[in-house]
Symmetry: C2
Subunit: 449 residues, 2 copies
């Protein structure tokens, strides 16, 4: 009989793993179990769905039926797994729509249960029109509620909060952000975050940083305001979005006796196998090996989830492939700005007690005389002793993601800043400058070393 692969979770990591395992060994009997009605949609595209840039249909690559048909993989949506029994090699749970009990035997299992939102411990989060956003179901509910909302308050200025600010303001909503930290997007340095704050202001999004929200207030069970500390008063709100952090969904893994790492996510080896042989974990519920810090960290980006899923899938199909690790590369759009980062921020380097030297420069993304040239701010962070690049942040009206990807390749390879200063990059007036902003930034770091 065919060996059975069961995958818990039908998004980036889970579906990539399932597809990869089946592709590598078509004899495998592969089953995906997903608690929501949807699989295979672009989580990263959801803000653009709410911003009416893309339709719901366009976000979804496969329905459970089309995925099953095209890939030969069974999909059980609406199905929540409550228990993994490693000794009996089966998972059990129920259909969330019918309540029917289900049980799936497995030879190898992947846990790709993702994350769940962290709800702040303040009154009023249970009021109607207060939302978190981690999946398409959330998005559909928010979309329905947005119709009659004019004033939207976003609590938390992380990736999702900032993308939503742009997308909702662009559809005519009045958007207000409260952020607890002294800056937006705490994963980048404060001097870079200020550029984003300026851009939000330029587009009419009011942002309060260092702003503690005390309560959500409402009328007849529906939110109508946000009460913030320290003279900010009550901000009227027809709808409130909470971007106040997420945490890995590890209950099923923990209850099965699988080791949970110090980070709070599921501990895995380089093959994405957990402490229990034959049980793998991938995606946001699993730890990610950071190749700079040389230890596992939390990582909530879809690209890493997909790569981990691919590695897990290969290994479940009995190949030996290793996950290379990640360095925290990401990019987001905030109105006209692209905001990209990779590696360690100055603050993250400090937390590792790593002495670094950094420099920030401004430059144009292409020849200044060529139409459409945009300004970029580039910050490079270099380990003082080794002179190796360990972090980069690029924000700008021009091509920021390009420079961050070059920096990501350099960091991954252990490139020293003097080699970055002379790196042979492409130039033509429509696409770049004789000296790329990365060269200029590397030269600025060299002057400080």
């Amino acid at each position: 009989m065919a060996e059975k692969i069961v995958v818990i979770g039908g998004n980036a990591a889970g579906l990539t793993a399932a597809s990869r395992a089946k592709r590598v060994d078509p004899r495998l009997d592969v089953t995906v179990v997903e608690k929501s009605p949807h699989i295979s949609y672009s989580t990263c595209g959801i803000p653009y769905y709410l911003g009416k840039v893309v339709t719901e249909d366009a976000l979804v690559s496969y329905t459970p039926e089309s995925f099953e048909k095209e890939r030969g993989i069974k999909v059980h949506s609406h199905t929540q797994i409550a228990e993994v029994s490693p000794s009996r090699k089966r998972v059990t749970g129920k259909r969330v729509d019918t309540g029917e009990r289900v049980e799936f035997p497995y030879d190898r299992l992947l846990i790709a249960t993702g994350v769940r939102p962290r709800i702040p411990d303040i009154p009023g989060t249970d009021l109607a029109n207060v939302f978190t956003l981690t999946n398409l179901q959330d998005a559909i509910r928010i979309n329905a509620a947005l119709g009659s909302a004019r004033k939207v308050v976003i609590i938390g200025a992380g990736y999702v909060g900032l993308e939503l600010a742009e997308c909702l303001q662009s559809t005519g909503k009045e958007v207000r952000i409260f952020e607890r930290e002294p800056q937006v997007l705490p994963s980048i340095d404060r001097d870079m975050a200020q550029i984003i704050e300026y851009e939000l202001d330029r587009f009419g999004v009011k942002v309060s940083v260092s702003a503690r929200v005390l309560a959500l207030v409402g009328h007849e069970g529906r939110v109508n305001g946000v009460k913030a500390a320290a003279g900010l008063g009550i901000e009227p709100a027809d709808l409130v979005l909470l971007d106040t952090g997420v945490e890995p969904n590890i209950a099923v893994a923990r209850d099965a006796g699988i080791t949970i790492g110090l980070t709070g996510a599921i501990s895995v080896d380089s093959c994405m196998e957990t402490s229990l042989p034959g049980i793998y974990a991938a995606g946001n519920c699993a730890e990610t090996f950071c190749t700079i810090r040389r230890r596992p960290v939390l990582n909530y980006v879809g690209t890493t989830a997909a790569k981990q899923g691919r590695v897990a899938g290969e290994n479940m199909a009995a190949r030996r492939v290793k996950f290379a690790g990640a360095i925290g590369t990401s990019v987001l759009k905030v109105f006209g700005l692209a905001v990209a980062r990779t590696g360690l921020s100055s603050q993250e380097a400090a937390a590792e007690s790593m002495p670094v030297v950094s420099a920030r420069i401004e430059a144009l993304d292409r020849a200044g005389y060529y139409p459409g040239a945009g300004k970029l701010w580039v910050k490079l962070i270099v380990e003082r002793e080794s002179r190796k690049l360990v972090g980069a942040q690029v924000i700008g009206y021009g091509d920021a993601s390009k420079r961050i990807d070059v920096a990501a390749a350099a960091i991954t390879s252990g490139m020293r800043v003097e080699d970055m200063a002379q790196l042979d990059l492409a130039y033509s007036p429509p696409y770049g400058s004789l000296w790329d902003p990365l060269h200029v930034a590397a030269q600025a770091v060299l002057r400080k070393l």
Copy 2:
């Protein structure tokens, strides 16, 4: 008395070197000697000047006077150096406008004499309205002649030929290209060049490859046609542009007893010093160390010239800095297409007897559902034994230069293709895909290894 630095050549390499030397040691007495009337202009921007995208003024960063004033460096334009005398440590020549003899003593000398066009050995190249294009003077002459020209024939489909084809066709000229090789842009692989040929055709530029031009024909001393072999007949032409190759300007260096390399360019060490101590060479007249082939090669790109100039300038100011070498990264725009390459092409790898495996894929440059997604073709070339990336070519309607710069960083670092397949690159729907085209191409190569 202040030490004297003399620089022959006032473009990318020469001016960068002069500026750098003066910056590092402001006490230096720095002189730049340039045979043309212009210094400090963007050679790469010239096609866009002819295409009326940018003005002549915008191309020029400094006049001789403004450069002298701002940088404290003496500039002698219109001045051609005829002889370098290493024993007397001086260079001699004359003003090309007045015929006046000049002589400059030096303590350290930089030769940055660039290239000159190679004129094909066919009748008619001396007719009026037949041009080559290597500097701003050429461009100004071409611009004046273009006014009354309707039909333009370009002989040679290299970088300049293709950029001119776009720029002139866009201003309403009828453009025809003859290329001797069986493809346009011989520095990329033929399967990639075909994409460019399709694009030229789509925009109405007629291209004949494997086309030998026998003669330029004229009437009353002015060109009016191009005679090509093998049934192509005589193509009417009001103006002919020759993009038939260049060669390093080495006469002055050779006559002074400086070693010329096997490539035909001036031989230099990693400090850009020639065989004669105290005499440096940089830019297109000098050899460039290729870090993949591990030997000197010719290199005609401005980015490398500027980097070599910077290194030469530092060393002339008595620092010790080494040129890191180059890998042949470049990009050009051909109508809607960006065409980028780095490292070795398949043909170049074959010439090195290097066994390689390559794969070409098609992908979108960002999430397919996001407005503006463009198609890219990505080809990666990997050394079979080491599995290291040695070459990449990216052509497309999307962001090609971004991917080529990432590949350039990877090649420079000796990255293996399996690490490229998992590289942590930035993703957000407006800027990329969950799996970058580079990942997809690396996976395609891995399937063949």
